[in-house]
């Protein structure tokens, strides 16, 4: 068992346990915190996959921005402390469906190996991504910026208190 595998197993455990906590904790804020754990674990997995830049972005965006947005969302709305229980039957049905899905997928991918590996990804990883983004993917990149802008404006409009209407 080499060091790489040990690192992977640790990151795997962090990721999965974070997700499990998220599903099983009862307080909403705790759930979000458990999720941060998962996001960090995933960032670690990215590093083992030679994607340092993506790992950093993951931490910045997910563990930072999205988690904060979620926390704001939680604080702006009222939550009963206890998450209300969903009916057992519904849970069972969904769970069994997901289990079947998992088994089928698992049997499909358990021995999947495509043979080749990329070996130069870690060399100037950020530079490579930058070149790719600003050459080949420059139009999607610009479009994504539009998407972000639209999302920004949309979010503001949606969340804005509709004072004029209420005044009538």
């Amino acid at each position: 068992m080499n060091g790489e595998l040990i690192v992977f197993v640790i990151l795997f455990l962090i990721t999965i346990s974070g997700a499990l906590f998220m599903l099983n904790l009862s307080k909403v804020v705790h759930m979000v915190m458990a999720l941060v754990l998962t996001f960090l674990g995933i960032a670690g997995l990215y590093v083992t996959l030679a994607a340092e830049f993506v790992a950093v972005v993951q931490i910045l965006i997910y563990s930072g921005a999205i988690t904060i947005i979620m926390l704001f969302g939680i604080m702006l709305t009222k939550h009963s402390d206890e998450e209300k229980k969903t009916s057992f039957a519904k849970k069972g049905i969904v769970l069994s469906g997901i289990a079947i899905f998992f088994l089928i997928m698992f049997s499909a991918i358990q021995n999947l190996s495509l043979g080749s590996q990329a070996t130069t990804l870690h060399e100037n990883n950020t530079e490579q991504i930058g070149i790719m983004l600003f050459t080949e993917y420059v139009i999607p990149f610009e479009l994504v910026s539009v998407v972000l802008l639209v999302a920004l404006v949309g979010a503001v409009i949606l969340a804005k208190r509709d004072d004029a209407k209420e005044g009538e």
Partner: protein, 618 residues
């Protein structure tokens, strides 16, 4: 001849004009209707006379073609048609004129004339039809007119019931005719008369089938002509206005049954059984209705039973191969029976009473009407040298020469009964002391009656074995294969018939004028018979008991079947659908998570199927 189609169109125009200008035209409707029907009559006369010179005429056009089926419409003029045209338009014209006076106080006079126009249109078109489909079409149309006119006083419950009865009972016969038409089309492949007859002649239709078809056609004729056992509607139809009784229920529509059998005569000739059926039905109906007429007290009902009886005579003539005799009697009967009805109408108009026991002595007040009624009665009774005498002789001779002696005897006895009940009626109404006042009818009513009286007296001379058989010779020019048996009656038949006729008159005179024979000697001796006759052989009661009650029982059964089984099934289906719907509503909960779960389970199922079929694991 080419303009022969105008004859039915004229009354149709009259109908339409009066119908659409009803509020404006009001009382003048009678004049309009009379003018149009008069024009139709003139046209018929022209057609009749041009037929003497030009012979038969037939024009046909394709009406519709469906694949191999081609239906035609057209008009035909042959001796029978031309004669019927003249009879129908003449009686129609006279009745129109008569109705101007008779109906003058009625508020719905315009509607009445519109119906008369429609009827005249249907009837003239019926007698000119060269194929069975067209005949059937107009056959139903005259039935509708009869329904409308019988129910003209629809605010009287009896009239309403009578109209329904007339419609339904004749419909029973019409079903027979319709089935016969289907069978004929199936067997002969055509509905045109000449096609049918040539198919029958060439043996394309089996003898059994011919018999079945002929009898079914006869069933239609039985319904329309009020023959036993479908006669019950005709006496009740007297609830309609009297001119209608004269036109539809004496002279024309009821004769349509006889006309139909005459038209299809070649088919009947081909089947001995059908001929026997016709003859027996006719003979039985003749005496049956005559016996009922003996004891009736309503002036119009007596005439109605007399009509049934006379139509029976015609059927008897047809059944004994007396084609000429039947058509001859149809003609003379149309004149004198229309006359009698119109005269009866005149009496009713004057005295406002229909029960002959409450009438009497009207001969002094209604001199004209009394004379005309007497002439009509003499003609109907077969008094020597009147029209009925010749035509009845013709029928008796035909029955005798066909060797149906029992029917011959019945017919002779019926002749005696006929003269007796007619003069019982005449003497009770017109002889004796006056009871209540009455005023003679206006001239518009008397003139048509006078015209009919002349015809009733003299029309017999168109066919006698003494002067010449004009009618018979002329009818022989028909385009269809009718066999004419020229019958020379033995001399004793007319003498016996005259004796019976005069005997009946004499008996009536003795009973009701001299009163040397008490009124009730028959009644007193055999009460039960009188009772049976008075109740019209209980036919109505039997029908009520057997068919109506039976139908009720049958209907109740199906009503309960419907209520519990059919509706139960329907309710069950509804319940299932409701439950499905409620389930559907539950599914449509608006819960996005449920939707997602369902969509996801769909994906899982698809994946499962792929995996089970091997998928990419192969």
């Amino acid at each position: 001849m080419g303009y022969v189609w105008l004859i039915p169109v004229l009354p149709l125009l009259s109908f339409l004009i009066i119908l659409f200008t009803r509020p404006v035209i009001y009382k003048k409707a009678g004049i309009v209707g009379t003018l149009f029907s008069g024009a139709a009559f003139v046209g018929s006369l022209i057609v009749l006379f041009s037929h003497f010179q030009e012979g038969n005429y037939l024009v046909e056009a394709n009406w519709l073609s469906i694949d191999a089926i081609t239906l035609t419409v057209g008009f035909e003029v042959n001796p029978l048609n031309a004669l019927m045209l003249v009879i129908v338009t003449l009686v129609s014209f006279l009745v129109h004129m008569y109705s101007i006076g008779y109906m003058e106080d009625d508020e719905r006079i315009a509607t009445f004339f519109a119906y008369l126009g429609l009827f005249t249109f249907s009837m003239t078109a019926l007698v000119m039809s060269p194929n069975l489909l067209q005949i059937y079409f107009f056959w139903e149309l005259v039935g509708v007119c009869s329904f409308l006119l019988v129910g003209f006083y629809f605010y009287k419950p009896e009239a309403k019931a009578a109209a329904k009865k007339a419609f339904i009972v004749t419909r029973i016969g019409d079903v027979g005719l319709l089935v016969a038409i289907f069978l004929l089309y199936w067997q002969a492949g055509t509905l045109e008369l000449d096609g049918i007859f040539s198919a029958a002649e060439s043996g394309a239709i089996t003898p059994t089938m011919i018999t079945i078809i002929a009898i079914l056609i006869f069933v239609g004729a039985v319904g329309k002509s009020g023959q036993f056992p479908l006669h019950t509607w005709l006496p009740d139809a007297m609830e309609g206005p009297t001119p209608v009784s004269a036109l539809i229920h004496a002279a024309t529509m009821v004769a349509a049954g006889v006309y139909l059998v005459a038209v299809m005569f070649p088919l009947f000739l081909a089947s001995e059984a059908a001929m026997t059926t016709v003859a027996i039905t006719g003979g039985v109906t003749a005496i049956f209705a005559a016996t009922i007429a003996l004891v009736q007290n309503d002036i119009k009902r007596i005439l109605a039973y007399s009509t049934i009886s006379q139509l029976g005579y015609m059927m008897l003539a047809l059944g004994t191969a007396g084609y000429t005799a039947a058509v001859f009697h149809l003609t003379t009967h149309a004149f004198f029976k229309a006359l009698l009805f119109l005269a009866a109408g005149s009496v009713i108009h004057a005295a406002h009473e229909q029960n002959i026991l409450k009438l009497g002595g009207l001969g002094k007040k209604l001199k004209g009407t009394a004379l005309l009624f007497l002439l009509g009665s003499l003609a109907l009774s077969g008094f020597p040298l009147f029209s009925g005498f010749f035509s009845k002789d013709e029928i008796l001779a035909s029955a005798f020469s066909d060797e149906r002696y029992i029917l011959f005897g019945l017919a002779l006895f019926t002749a005696f009964l006929t003269s007796f009940y007619m003069f019982r009626l005449y003497f009770l109404v017109f002889a004796g002391e006056g009871k209540g006042g009455a005023k003679e009818s206006p001239r518009t009513m008397l003139i048509p009656m006078a015209v009919l009286a002349v015809l009733a007296v003299f029309s017999g001379f168109i066919q006698t074995h003494w002067f010449g058989t004009f009618l018979g010779d002329w009818l022989e020019t028909t385009p269809y294969p009718v066999i004419f048996s020229s019958v020379e009656a033995p001399l004793w038949i007319p003498i016996l018939a005259s004796a019976l006729s005069i005997g009946g008159i004499a008996l009536a005179w003795l009973m009701y004028v001299k009163q040397s024979v008490p009124h009730n000697w028959l009644y007193g001796s055999i009460k039960e018979v009188h009772q049976v006759l008075d109740r019209k052989y209980y036919i109505d009661e039997i029908y009520q008991g057997v068919f109506v009650k039976g139908l009720f029982v049958f209907s109740y059964f199906w009503s309960y079947f419907d209520r519990f089984i059919v509706e139960g099934t329907a309710a069950a289906m509804r319940g299932v659908v409701t439950q499905l719907g409620k389930t559907g509503v539950k599914v449509q909960s608006g819960q996005v998570q449920t939707y997602g779960a369902v969509a996801f389970s769909g994906l899982v199922i698809v994946l499962l199927v792929i995996a089970a079929l091997g998928g990419y694991f192969q």
